[in-house]
């Protein structure tokens, strides 16, 4: 096995993803098959290859920067319009600190 049940539960924790036991079993099997295929990459020699993070990386470093000009922001009303629980101009969440 490329990945254990324990690792699946650990990764789900890192991803803040609550999984059912059935999902844990399913993803363990799925990830195992996918990681097995991904293991193919060890066959290819990349020792003298620079990693490619972006497509159009040969441009000047500053070519993608715009002028730093102030512009009107979205505004809190629009930003909060889709919040499940807005309140007093903020996003409300369950209590974090006990009194």
């Amino acid at each position: 096995m490329k990945i254990t049940e324990q690792e699946v539960r650990y990764v789900a924790g890192l991803a803040n993803l609550n999984l059912t036991d059935a999902e844990v079993a399913r993803f363990q099997a799925d990830l195992d098959g996918i990681l097995e295929h991904i293991g193919k990459l060890n066959e290819i020699d990349t020792s003298n290859v620079e990693p490619m993070a972006q497509v159009l990386f040969d441009a000047e470093e500053t070519a993608t920067l715009r002028a730093d000009v102030p512009a009107p922001p979205l505004g809190s009303q629009a930003a909060l319009a889709n919040a499940p629980q807005p309140g007093a101009g903020y996003f409300k969440v369950p209590k974090v600190i006990e009194r």
């Binding site: 990945i3 991803a15 609550n18 193919k40 497509v55 070519a63 993608t64 919040a83 996003f91």
Partner: protein
């Protein structure tokens, strides 16, 4: 109105408006009526935007009345994939998490197409957050292929391909990260274009894998995609990866003359292609030869590693991009949580569908401590090799011909239980995304069973012009 909506092109809409055969408002109303009536056959639209459509149409009519040019897309009914933000019009990304999300701003591509007179009539169904190759991963039910209703339309932009094939929109916008425009275009028998990375602003495109995401057009003719791309392309200060390169008139050289162009056939793509799809592709290659193109075999030696490379990079980027759906800002929140961390976990556990969870898991795994170098960094190096393969090939040839998918549209439910098989079928499309070069699917005939097959054309960075010239000449030759 004496106009059949499914037979419209951008040119016919323009001619109808200028000759006063119909107004933009009449056309918008008729297109909405027709699309709403036909939609139950495919489930391709998730929702319609009549208020916005009629407002744009009225503006076009007012401009025409004043003798002004209302733009190259004047009055054209357009559909937009539901991962592209439309202010005031619900944008769900095919996800339960965003079932009620109404964006506070427009994507740049949306602004540009409306400024050009395009009339957005609705938003199209897709795989959840554009993750999938069949549109079966939508939280709002799958889309049926208009050509064969028991089959998938492809994905993830299955809804956009289907509305264009069905005739319930003239053109549509989709998005492509690993083939999500070209593969559904191939499955539905329409034209679908993935432009150069950075050619079209990603501002307002819901992020899946940011270094691979593209917006691009669907249409029933090559010329209409060329027109639509010309409208949405170009530098946008709101997307720092959008390219500062001039946008040529992509329709200017669609004259059918492609004599002398050098075309490459990648031997790695054809070695296992022996089905009806293979026969149609080799017939298509003959058509290009009869048009005076010189065809030669080329090699893209890193092809075998592309799927593994792609599924590391795209899931890693997706796991980061999807972290924002935590129940705080975007409509859906689990109601069964007492603490903040439970709220995050439960919201995501209840909100995401299986494929999104699978990719978040894989992406988190490959980025986690101890694995970064072995997976993510390795994949970025292999990506450089895939890009180098294309750069080497384009020293010899002007364009590359390839299949889009190893098979035509498959049956609904046929592949949902085998994610790896589904991933492996993306082999011919993900390479273009990894390299960031322009690529498109143009119809290349149908199988004996009547299923469409697309021919893929790939060209150098920013050389969409050659790609459109070849596709247009091919389309004309096939029409005879």
């Amino acid at each position: 109105m004496d106009t059949a909506i499914p037979s419209l092109t951008i040119g016919r809409v323009r001619e109808g408006l200028l000759s006063r055969r119909f107004s933009a408002a009449e056309l918008a109303a008729e297109a909405l009526r027709y699309a709403q009536a036909e939609n139950p056959k495919t489930n391709a639209y998730l929702h319609f935007s009549p208020e916005r459509a009629l407002a744009t149409a009225k503006r076009v009519d007012d401009q025409l009345a004043r003798g002004e040019d209302p733009g190259p897309l004047a009055g054209v009914p357009v559909a937009v994939k539901d991962v592209i933000l439309t202010q005031g019009v619900r944008t769900t990304c095919g996800s339960k998490l965003l079932a009620n999300y109404v964006p506070p701003y427009d994507a740049t591509a949306v602004i540009r197409l409306e400024q050009a007179g395009g009339v957005i009539i609705g938003k199209t169904n897709c795989d959840e957050f554009a993750m999938g190759s069949s549109t079966e991963n939508s939280a709002f039910g799958p889309v049926r292929n208009p050509v064969a209703p028991d089959r998938v339309p492809g994905g993830s932009s299955g809804g956009s391909a289907a509305v264009v094939a069905q005739g319930t929109a003239v053109v549509a916008l989709g998005s492509d990260t690993g083939g999500s425009i070209r593969q559904p275009a191939s499955f539905c028998g329409v034209v679908g274009v993935t432009p150069t990375y950075g050619r079209v602003s990603r501002y307002g495109l819901t992020a899946f894998a940011s270094s691979l995401d593209h917006i691009g057009p669907f249409s029933r003719s090559v010329k209409d995609s060329a027109t639509l791309l010309g409208v949405i392309a170009g530098r946008d200060l709101r997307d720092s990866t959008s390219a500062d390169a001039p946008v040529p008139d992509y329709t200017a050289r669609l004259d059918g003359n492609v004599k002398g162009l050098k075309l490459g056939l990648p031997r790695e793509y054809l070695k296992e292609l022996m089905s009806e799809t293979g026969d149609l592709i080799s017939h298509g290659v003959d058509v290009f030869q009869s048009l005076g193109c010189q065809v030669r075999e080329i090699s893209l030696p890193s092809t075998d590693y592309a799927v593994a490379c792609y599924y590391i990079i795209c899931t890693a980027e997706a796991s980061a991009n999807l972290a924002r759906y935590d129940g705080v800002r975007y409509t859906f929140r689990s109601q069964s949580s007492d603490t903040l961390s439970d709220m995050y976990r439960n919201t995501r556990g209840e909100g995401f569908g299986a494929e999104c969870k699978r990719r978040i898991m894989l992406g988190t795994y490959v980025l986690s401590a101890g694995y970064y170098d072995a997976y993510y960094l390795k994949a970025q190096k292999v990506r450089a090799l895939v890009a180098r393969d294309f750069a080497n090939a384009f020293q010899e040839v002007d364009a590359i011909l390839a299949p889009v998918s190893p098979f035509p549209a498959f049956k609904l439910g046929e592949k949902v239980d085998d994610p790896l098989a589904m991933y492996l079928s993306d082999i011919y499309t993900i390479t273009g995304d990894l390299a960031g070069i322009p690529c498109m699917s143009v119809p290349c005939g149908t199988t004996a069973g009547g299923l469409p097959v697309g021919m893929q054309i790939l060209t150098r960075h920013f050389d969409e012009t050659t790609m459109f010239r070849l596709a247009d000449a091919f389309e004309q030759a096939q029409r005879g």
